[in-house]
């Protein structure tokens, strides 16, 4: 059971030689309008070779449209789309050297698992033992050796998604596109498939563009995440950076569920709600502060050191797995969301008056 871990073309694949793994997707000034409606507004994006890039956004943000334009199912209104030095704009999907995994799998119901996987290879004139070897290799990678002769309707949702993955990767596409591939699965299966996709990506090393609306999925899987809002990128960075240093209020709210507060900054001092603390942020003028729910210190004991202090009333609390989410109403701000561990001492009741403290180091300053 030796599986090549090197992201290089296999001699047995019979796919057109894809030696240039540096080939990357380059999108420039891409726009798309449906009549009056602007769905994509001047998108610039470089996807590096071997990278796992996630397009994350709420529904209607344009992420699926962007993916469909890359796949060639729709044409852009303007802008350019290059794969290496090939202009994809005028090429049909069949000549774009892409693989795609659909949310509803789109497996061919009249073909067996094997035949589904062989479909793209056969179109590339891969025949005989070479074909069989490659199909077997893909079956092994997704762990479906035993089901090779089944029809898609005889498989579970997770198995179908594995076939879709194997089918799209079999002919070694330059880029693998995935359109909410886990959307139809239940939570435990989703977690399992996330691991699976991660492993396969490590193993094969294909460039992946992945669309989802689930920020957890994006966090777990991606090398970089492009957060989309109203047809534009609100943020494009590694998941860690976006999580800890969101570039704007939208990303802070959408990606890390942060509280976003208004403030002013100048000369290394941040002023908010009559309080101030020193901060090394280089931004001056009106700013926004992002505070993650976990950053609040809750309790009546006084905290020393620079930071922000609020007093509020507990409006609601509910259990979120390992922690408890608190909705606290603070007169000068409105509602703040905080979290604390389930085992933290001190029982809280709705209506309790709470003292909150955020150390300056946990406050992220963003320009408006």
């Amino acid at each position: 059971m030796t599986v090549s871990v090197q992201p290089q073309p296999r001699s047995g694949a019979g796919a057109p030689s894809v030696t240039a793994r540096s080939a990357a997707l380059h999108i420039e000034k891409l726009t798309k309008s449906f009549g009056e409606l602007e769905v994509l507004r001047s998108i610039d994006l470089d996807v590096h070779a071997g990278e796992f890039l996630t397009l994350l956004g709420p529904s209607g943000s344009g992420k699926t449209t962007l993916l469909r334009i890359i796949a060639g199912f729709e044409s852009a209104t303007s802008g350019s789309l290059m794969l290496g030095d090939v202009d994809l704009g005028s090429l049909p999907p069949s000549e774009r050297k892409l693989g795609m995994v659909f949310q509803n799998y789109a497996l061919f119901p009249h073909l067996t698992v094997e035949q589904n996987i062989a479909y793209g290879l056969k179109l590339r004139k891969c025949r005989g033992p070479k074909l069989q070897a490659r199909v077997n290799e893909m079956l092994e990678i997704v762990g479906l050796e035993k089901h090779s002769r089944r029809k898609p309707s005889q498989l579970s949702g997770g198995q179908q998604q594995r076939v879709a993955l194997a089918r799209a990767l079999a002919y070694e596409p330059e880029i693998l596109l995935m359109d909410e591939p886990l959307g139809a699965l239940d939570r435990s299966l989703r977690l399992q498939m996330e691991e699976e996709i991660k492993r396969v990506h490590r193993q094969i090393g294909t460039t992946v563009v992945y669309v989802t609306h689930d920020q957890e999925e994006a966090l777990v899987l991606s090398d970089r995440v492009a957060i989309m809002n109203e047809g534009q990128f609100a943020g494009l960075d590694t998941p860690m950076s976006l999580f800890h240093r969101p570039p704007n209020g939208f990303v802070a709210r959408f990606f890390s569920d942060s509280n976003v507060l208004e403030a002013q900054a100048g000369d290394g001092i941040v002023h908010a709600y009559g309080q101030s603390f020193p901060h090394d942020s280089p931004i001056d003028g009106d700013v926004e502060l992002a505070i993650r729910p976990r950053s609040f210190v809750i309790g009546n004991h006084p905290e020393s050191g620079p930071g922000l202090r609020f007093t509020g009333e507990l409006e609601e609390q509910h259990l979120l797995g390992e922690h408890v989410q608190l909705h606290i109403s603070v007169p000068e701000i409105g509602r703040l969301v905080a979290r604390r561990n389930i085992g933290d001492d001190g029982r809280l009741d709705v209506g309790d008056s709470l003292k909150l403290f955020v150390p300056a180091s946990a406050v992220h300053v963003m320009s408006v």
């Binding site: 796949a71 060639g72 199912f73 049909p92 999907p93 069949s94 000549e95 774009r96 892409l98 693989g99 795609m100 659909f102 509803n104 789109a106 061919f108 119901p109 009249h110 479909y119 793209g120 179109l123 590339r124 309707s153 089918r167 799209a168 002919y171 596409p173 596109l177």
Partner: protein
Amino acid sequence: MSRTIHGRRNRTIDRASKILGRVLVTCAVIFLLAPALFIALLSFSNDRRVSFPPQSWGLDRYIAVFTSGKWGAPTLMSLEIGAWVAFGSLLVALPLVFALKRSVMPGRGLLEATAIAPLVIPISAYAVGLYAVFAQLDLLGEKFGIILAHTVHALPMVVIVLSTSLDQIRPDLELSAMTMGANRLKAWTSITLRLLVPAIAAAMLFGFISSFDEAVFITFLGGVGLVTLPKYIFDSVQYGVDPAITAMATILMITTAGIMLLGSALRKDIK
């Protein structure tokens, strides 16, 4: 108190309407079943004339159908025309539904309405129109003319069967094939058409039956020389009473039912 009275009156009304509904349904079922069962029953009578109740039973009428030699030619004629119509209507309808469902060309609704229109045009008036056109084109009394007329007549059914079936095949499958390297034609032939095969078979069966049972166009356009099975029965019933018709009618009934059931089963097979 008043509520109880009210309730009692409601119950009486409900019971009456329920009974009325049952009576209507029962009448309808008897009405629908009686003629077919009656003909089938009479076909096993050996009486000289068609009368009820039969005095003697047997298979004389079936034997007559197969031995008299009168039924062979019209049956062959009907089969031949029906087969051509099945192919002809498919040839028109299949590319049409693909263009209707897979392109964004303007006027798709109008085209679909046109294809379905022959279903609601009063058939005798339409036959007169075709009569005039066929007279111009020298198609009266020509087999080709009948095939044309029957093809137009079968078109609505064939288009409806194909388009409702194509609706059930998600375009994602084609797109998926295309990303894997298939051009549009290859994606259609290897995926969509392959999945549509049962529906195509069903559409052809329905097209065939539509022609096989048709009797109006042949009367108006067939001249004297062309005699299809329905035309032959029509003439026999009009100008005389051949008791063998009961047997032929029963045979036709069973054949048509079989073909229609097969067609419906094939139509459902698509998933």
